[in-house]
């Protein structure tokens, strides 16, 4: 089971956080601080896995952004890397050549995509097409929901 997913920049600025187990603010802050320092200190050509307390940390860098996944120690590390990769693919498909700025300015979308993909720390839907369809549909809804008829229709 996954415990958290963090996205942060090379400068250690947090871009997205998702927690799958309840933690206090202080614990979260500590994890964020530890993760950024640990991951950013890694040398090139080292493996993508770390240990942190009883958790396994799987991280990967895509351009200027680090994706850092905390999983329980019996999880499969390679699979964790693929979870990250699939999420990046999803972001890429949605934003089209995704970059860090896309995620900064539209972070709520990044959250929505993530929520379609993972649920309560487990994989919910792996299909790129399905997830993308969901997000696109809700986007369309946003564009349309100024239209009176639709709102009436929906709540009528």
């Amino acid at each position: 089971m996954m415990r958290f997913l963090l996205l942060f920049s090379r400068q250690g600025k947090l871009r997205l956080q998702k927690w799958y187990t309840p933690l206090s603010e202080r614990e979260k802050k500590k994890i964020i601080r530890d993760m950024t320092t640990m991951v950013l200190a890694r040398q090139p050509r080292t493996c993508n896995f770390l240990h942190w307390k009883d958790l396994k940390i799987i991280y990967k860098r895509y351009a200027s952004l680090y994706f850092c996944l905390g999983v329980e120690s019996e999880e499969n590390e390679l699979l964790g890397l693929e979870v990250i990769h699939r999420y990046v693919e999803l972001l890429d498909k949605y934003f089209g050549n995704v970059c860090e700025l896309d995620i900064i300015f539209n972070f709520e979308k990044a959250y929505f995509i993530l929520d379609e993909f993972l649920m309560s720390g487990e994989i919910q839907e792996t299909s790129k097409q399905t997830i993308n369809r969901c997000i696109e549909n809700s986007d369309m809804l946003q564009e349309d929901y100024n239209n009176e008829w639709y709102e009436v229709e929906l709540f009528g």
Partner: protein, 923 residues
Amino acid sequence: MSDVVEKTLTALPSLLSLDSQPGSAKLSSTSKLGALIRGITELTSKHEEEKLIQRELASLKDQVSSPNTSMRQMKEAMVRAIYCEMLGYEASFSYIHAIKLAQQGSILDKRVGYLAVTLFLNENHELLLLLVNTVLKPNVPQRYDTCNTPLVEEKLNHPKEIIRRKAVLALYKFYLIAPNQVQHIHNRFRKALCDKDPGVMFASLHIYLQMIKGYKDLTASFVTILKQVVSGKLPMDFNYHSVPAPWLQIQLLRILSILGKNDQSTSEIMYDVLDESLKRAEINHNITYAILYECVKCIYTIYPKTDLLEKAAKCIGNFVLSSKINLKYLGLKALTYVVQQDPKLALQHQMTIIECLDHPDVIIKRETLELLFRITNAQNITVIVEKMLEFLHQSKDDHTTIDLVGKVAEIAEKYPLQTMNTVFSLGGDMIQPDIPNSFLKLLSEGFESEEENKKLRLFAVDSYILLLEGETRNLPQRFLQVISWVLGEYSHLRNDLDPARVMTLLTKLLEMRQTSSETKTWVLMAMTKLCSGEASVSIARSVCEDLSSSMDTVQRQRAHELLLLSQDRALRSQLLPLCSDPEPLEVDSSLSFLDAFVSEALAAGAAPYKPPHQRQEELAQQKALSLEPYELSLPINMSSSCVTGRQSPTLMSVSSGLSGDSAELSHKGGSTTLKLEGVKRVWGREGYLSKKEPVEEVAQAEIPSPLSSPNQHTGASGTSSNTHPPIPTPEPEQEKQQLASSLFVGLGSQSSLCLVRADIYSTQDVPSHSVAVFQYSLSVIRPVVHFEVMGMLSYQSSHKSHEVEFTYKLPLTNFIRPFTVSTEQYGAMWLAFSNDTKQNLNLVTDGQDSLTDTLNVLKGKLNLHIVEIIGMEGIVACRLAQDQPCLLHCHIHAGTLAVWLRSPVPDLPDSLLYHCQRALEGT
């Protein structure tokens, strides 16, 4: 209303077929969020950022509490609040509004509201109850409470698969939080497992993984599902990089491994599908490796089947040997897992393991240690603990340190003495003083069982005696102290052990230059406990004589005690009873029993006591007395004694320094000064010493020298010469055939740093016109490239004495013997040896058999044993003496022969490498 719920969940059906670009909501640069983010990026200091955010939060607060704010504006404000929180600023005022938004807004507003709620609130937040009570949409996934169970349950029957899927996952979460609450709906899970939508089935697997133990009957179903998945029966949607549903596969493999554990009949159902999984996972992609890894783990968890195990082991090989570091990591992990079943598997990959141990990436290193920890046994424990301690020294991370220390401690429980001995000899004098203390405490107080205690103590005594009989110079002082204490306290447990023998060993420690005076007092204390029996008493007496003039008062005191107690047996047994039960001692720290003495002394006019620091201060003020001149005078004495060549103990140290140099010089032809040194030493200043005086150098003969045939080779006696019957010879210089006087063989000098051990024998009369053959056994103590044997003949003819010196150069190869071992033995030894060296050498030939050819040349010239050649790698073994092996690992790399030598003997790999190089150059 339920319609709304449904639409929220599915993020709406595609009933609006309006064409809209994905990502059309890109960079809303005009939005307030955009402005905020840009504002922040333009700032230069943290302080400015703080000011800006505080302003932002203030305006947000106004906005959300204003009744005129529309839901849409509210949604926008929430996004900004989330952003501020992500930057680390609290926006708690917005929490309640987030809930409100989740309750009241339109579908999209709700979504943002829920997002905000999940990010803002944690499990124990008081507002959560409000959320649960008012929200009627439990399937919006992230927050729930058990009171929602019926609602979620209802959704299990929903026509939309995505909702069923979410409902199952929600129930899974309930199960994790409170398993009892969902007990009554276990049959619902089974229904979910049989759902026509594979996604729902997959979701249900999460639950089954948690409570699988009770569902053995489902094994066949799981196997069928896996079979279908593996053979690609699922819709394309489930593929990931053309691998069918990898997440689902892995989940199933995990379930199967739990089901099949220790259960042969259940395991048998799975063999086929596991085999199939191994076969199918061929594509070279991370995700297939992930599946393979899980597969291998499963195969090693369930009831074993030979051919599957073999396939799995091969799989692990692919991981371990991979150049991709992530795969290597996983390979090590897999190995760690499987060696618990089959430790031999580690042997196959020992080279990689060794490489990983020195890997620059600490994570890899740590994983390797983890693996080594699993294969620890009595033989390799020393090396493994050494590596662990090495890692501990470098580790900065607390969690790692605690974990590793725990492991060292675990090993220490299994092999208490070996571990502690390693810790002592490695940690050396750096270790905290309380470690040896607590170790001694452990020994003396012991465990619960008396039998166990005795065994441990006996073992300690045995191993320490063995240690003292070997090389003691490199042992740390603290360890020597521990040894002395243990020997003093417990050697009486070993009945057949003569205390005099222990005394002799301890005396050796006293005579050692390196031994600190603190250690010496420990040794003396041990001797005091030991000296019973005549032989011991006489040893004690001679020790006391030596030390009674010691400069060190404490030593003098102890020596005096020893002398007195060794003579008064009754007093000794009263003071130092054997096997005393450690009764709590009462220590009178105020020394009140001396009060009378003090007052008497004071009354007699003695000066009152001053603490040391006060005395020091006063001394400094007076600028009186300096101890320096005394210390300076010592080295002068030393050098003078060296010049005169007297048999003073200091000569030993000076000449040993010289011979240390000679070891490096010897293959360059030696040095004349060295020879003189050696000659002087034995013959003395005025020529050779009396003929009747045998040189007392006892040595062990282990390897026959090239001069002698093996059957004539004698044992470890002082005189090992064999005189053959005289043989007439046609040699012209008959005078020289009258051999006389003594001959010695040695290298460098006879100091303690001697490289070769040889038997030295005394003078002998040989009849004239005859040949006497003297044979010596040489054994190597410290390997160098060449050994120089120097000797001198002195003989008398017509009342004139003659002396002839000779030297003879023996290459190391003369001492090398093939060493026949199996590959497994080789592997076990390789791990245990600590001295190594690597180099690339030239190949003898090019082409296919170049490795075999080259190794054969080495075999022929150097007398090595080729253990095995596999492909481009070959392993070779040889030895010096019985316990001095050297292992070579060769593999062809970029047209050269990369050789890696390992041996327990220092300098052996380097010296041997030199000869390998020469052997290959010569062809």
